[in-house]
């Protein structure tokens, strides 16, 4: 029998107020691609941080290739041969690829040798990368390649990947998987963390499932369905959202020739964006982050006031010059991408957070005074109506898990009975159970006659929710196409910027597809 690459036995780690890892054991074999599954807060990140030496276990043992080791910091981990690609990149925009990689190495060779090595490694693994380019000119997928190459230069024998595909187009994901399979063939072990269960089924050969800090199961993802794995993670049966056919009415939101200019050199300007969302339908806007999503959301919410009043019309009324409050008065409700820090104030209670956007449509303010009794009952209606797990209306927003806070925010917006709901990243980082509930609530809202616009990077989500899908790339929006007349591959190509091929087809009105 082969000696495991890494063997964790009975690892426990306690933080004030929670037991993040409780007697966790995990064995990683040489060359396997092993998935670590679990909802947010299940203890995945803590376990990975212990392996990478960022944190120390309170108790338990770690065997590296059969030898007991203490991994006291990430340097020690790298010396053993453990590499990690984080979800959030740590790259300097103004430095070149080679300079960034040199900064991350223990003993960087002279720059010329390093560039040679980078070229060699990137060719070998199909990770096209020019060492002389500056980071700010790279796409997100290319930036991730920099992080991966940085790890590979240190000849890792265990590579940890934390949510690596959340920012990639489907085609980029395929290329990443090819690289990872090649590494695994060469004997490198890969520990793969992701919420995307279909990807895990396609890539991984074994999976360990965590729930509440404990190992609750193991499986072979190739023999499971995404649904069965999701149920293992949440420990309950999952109800998939149902989407009856849409009956659309008039255009509730019309966007015409919306262009923006920004002083911020890193902002993406919107260029002549036009679309409409009709009552009763859900329009999905796909795209890799940084292609103008934040700017489009701000232009719709009123956080950015537009030059052209008529560029955004809500229920027929020009709204480009209106602030968020006046747009809400026209029937807009809005769920921002960042739920903690924009959609909710972390330090305030849920009933105070209910006032944050609810003060326009709900009778929460009278003669300049806040009616805290009504705010409280509004918060309680949200909590009970959307199954928000929280210690009542007095709980601080930051004490909620991501999924529960998102349910609260979406519930807060939906209970205001909007005629138009704009949602950014409705289920980003939200666990499967909460995501299904959120999806169903959005569909129900649309079927009740509201217009819903969903902006998301998650194609699976958009295909579940949307009646029509359009793609945002470099500030331009493609024509929308009916969801049942398109495929993930086609949308993926648009996300990668292959507008030319697609726009030719778009000149032809819908229905010819």
């Amino acid at each position: 029998m082969t000696v495991p690459r890494l063997e964790l036995s009975s690892i426990s780690k306690r933080f004030p107020g929670c037991l993040a890892n409780d007697d966790v054991s995990l064995t990683l074999l040489p060359g396997e691609i092993h998935a670590l599954l679990g909802e947010n807060g299940a203890g995945k990140s803590t376990l990975v941080k212990i392996i990478y030496g960022v944190q120390q276990a309170d108790s338990g043992t770690i065997l590296w290739e059969g030898q007991p080791v203490v991994i006291k910091d990430p340097h020690a981990a790298r010396r053993l041969g453990i590499g990690m690609v984080f979800q959030h990149f740590s790259l300097f925009d103004t430095l070149t690829v080679a300079e960034n990689i040199a900064l991350g190495l223990e003993r960087p060779p002279p720059m010329r040798d390093l560039e040679q090595k980078i070229r060699a490694v990137s060719e070998r693994y199909g990770l096209t990368l020019d060492p002389a380019r500056h980071i700010h000119t790279l796409s997100v997928g290319e930036r991730q390649r920099v992080e991966i190459v940085r790890c590979l230069l240190q000849d890792p024998r265990l590579l940890i990947m934390d949510e690596p595909t959340s920012v990639l187009t489907p085609q980029e994901v395929e290329r990443l998987f090819a690289t990872l399979r090649r590494l695994s063939d060469e004997g490198c072990t890969i520990l793969y963390i992701s919420h995307k269960l279909e990807e895990i089924r396609a890539l991984c050969t074994r999976a360990t499932v965590l729930r509440g800090g404990r190992v609750v199961g193991a499986c072979d993802p190739r023999r499971e369905s995404a649904r069965s794995m999701a149920e293992m993670m949440i420990g309950a049966t999952l109800t998939a959202p149902t989407r009856p056919a849409a009956e659309t009415g008039g255009a509730t939101l019309e966007v015409r020739h919306l262009s923006t200019t920004s002083d911020d050199p890193f902002a993406t300007n919107l260029k002549d964006v036009s679309f409409e969302v009709r009552a009763g339908e859900i329009l999905g806007i796909a795209g890799v982050a940084g292609n103008g999503q934040a700017e489009l959301l701000a232009a719709l919410s009123g956080e950015a006031i537009l030059a052209d009043d008529g560029a955004v019309r809500i229920r027929g009324q020009a709204a480009g010059h209106l602030d968020p409050r006046r747009r809400r008065a026209l029937g807009l409700a809005f769920v921002p991408e960042e739920r903690l820090g924009r959609g909710a104030v972390p330090e305030l209670s849920l009933s105070e957070n209910a006032i944050l956007s609810g003060y326009v449509a709900e009778p929460l303010v009278r003669r300049g005074l806040v009616h805290f009794g009504r705010a409280r009952s509004f918060a309680e209606r949200i909590i009970s109506g959307f199954n928000v797990v929280a210690h009542g209306h007095k709980a601080e927003a930051r004490s909620l898990s991501g999924g529960n806070l998102q349910k609260f925010i979406i519930g807060r917006e939906i209970l205001q009975k909007p005629s138009l709901l704009v949602v950014g990243q409705p289920t980003w980082g939200v666990d499967a159970g909460a995501a299904a509930a959120i999806h169903q609530a959005l569909i129900d809202l649309a079927r009740g006659g509201a217009a819903v616009l969903v902006i998301s990077q998650d194609l699976d989500e958009l295909f579940v929710l949307s009646d029509r899908i359009a793609v945002l790339f470099h500030g331009r929006l493609s024509e929308s196409r009916p969801t049942h007349h398109t495929t993930v591959e086609e949308i993926g190509l648009l996300m990668g910027g292959l507008f030319g091929a697609a726009t030719g087809a778009e000149e032809v009105p819908h229905g010819t597809a």
Partner: protein, 363 residues
């Protein structure tokens, strides 16, 4: 290996939110003890002279209230701004302007005053402080200039303006060229509330300001907006709250209350306009606001404590022959220890080595 570590608590400790100021006071007293001892005084007697003796007479307690009045007026206004991340550091200047404008009215109507003069002076003092605070508000909202710098620098402009006025237009024509105004007449002086002390009507203004600011923050929608802007500006933008409006409002509020404090000094205990209207109430009020946890009631207690440091400082100067700086030393120590103690709200102190992984235990 033993060491002292800070460990995050996960959430704010309600005990230490209120415990930290008490710990800071205790540490200040302990350091004062060492300081006096090192300087060759009997520390117990010195601390007693500083902190206890001023409180042993009705007159001493009256003085405490007299000094706590301007501190409270300035600090409650500043605290409202601080909650919205509007850092008005120039209360001293706004206080000075209130003395100049409100007191100027007393001089302008000298000899013709009636019942209407005092209310007019109060309004004039408030308007003067507001006008001075309006400058940083305009610069911040129009040019995004930091109100910390502009309000602080305007303080020195205000002090020089006062100096010019008492040496020129405001100078008492019968005053032998001393840089002082006339003594205000009866109709231009705030009535004394408790005979035998100098406690004046301004103390009631301060209490009203405390109550008003409490209602503003805790009950009104404006107060809610102030809190949201201070905690999470992005959420305020999302909700459609107008940050510029709140900047104007909080600066005008704190400026107006500081101006009222300045008027209260010249129309109260001083009774005329002199080159130095305030021993630094406007700056000390910043400490008071934080020591009082930005809460109106906490501010009243903190203002009384800081007033005691002024009076005790005077007593120490007279009784022990210590330099004037002793007041500032004690105020500075208090703020220093408060900021240090505040760490305990979010962290707990652990002494001793980190627990190691059992297999690597060194025992």
């Amino acid at each position: 290996m033993s060491m002292i570590r800070l460990e995050p608590r996960g959430q704010a400790s309600p005990l230490w939110v209120y415990g930290a100021p008490l710990l800071a006071v205790a540490l200040t007293l302990a350091s004062g003890f060492v300081l006096f001892w090192a300087m060759g005084f009997n520390p117990v007697a010195a601390l007693r002279a500083f902190f206890v003796e001023p409180l042993t007479s009705a007159r001493g307690i009256g003085e405490l209230v007299v000094k706590a009045t301007p501190l409270t007026l300035c600090a409650v206004g500043l605290a409202v701004g601080f909650r919205a991340n509007v850092w008005n550091i120039g209360a001293e200047g706004q206080l000075t302007l209130g003395a100049i404008t409100g007191g100027g009215l007393a001089l302008a109507f000298y000899g013709e005053g009636g019942w209407w003069l005092l209310p007019l002076m109060v309004l004039g003092g408030i308007a003067g402080g507001m006008a001075w605070a309006a400058i940083p508000a305009f610069l911040r909202t129009r040019f995004n200039a930091s109100e910390i710098l502009t309000s602080l620098m305007l303080t020195y402009v205000a002090l020089l303006l006062l100096s010019y006025l008492v040496h020129g237009p405001y100078r008492d024509p019968d005053g032998f060229a001393f840089p002082e105004s006339r003594l205000f007449e009866e109709a231009a002086t705030l009535p004394v509330l408790v005979t035998g002390t100098r406690v004046h009507l301004g103390a009631l203004f301060a209490l009203a300001a405390v109550a008003g600011c409490w209602v503003l923050i805790a009950r009104t929608f404006i107060g809610f907006q102030i809190r949201v802007i201070g905690l999470t500006p992005a959420a305020a933008g999302y909700a459609g709250f107008k940050e510029k409006k709140i900047i104007w409002l909080t600066l005008l509020l704190s400026g107006g209350l500081s101006g009222l404090a300045g008027l209260g000094e010249v129309a109260g205990p001083i009774g005329q306009i002199v080159p130095t209207v305030s021993p630094g109430y406007g700056f000390t009020a910043i400490i008071v606001a934080f020591l009082g946890r930005l809460h109106p009631l906490g501010i009243v207690l903190a203002a009384l404590l800081m007033a005691l440091s002024f009076i005790g400082g005077e007593a120490a100067q007279i009784g022990l022959g210590l330099p004037k700086a002793i007041t500032g030393v004690f105020q500075g120590m208090l703020l220093f220890f408060l900021l240090g103690s505040d760490v305990l709200i979010r962290y707990r102190v652990r002494i001793g080595a980190r627990k190691t992984v059992s297999q690597g235990a060194t025992a």
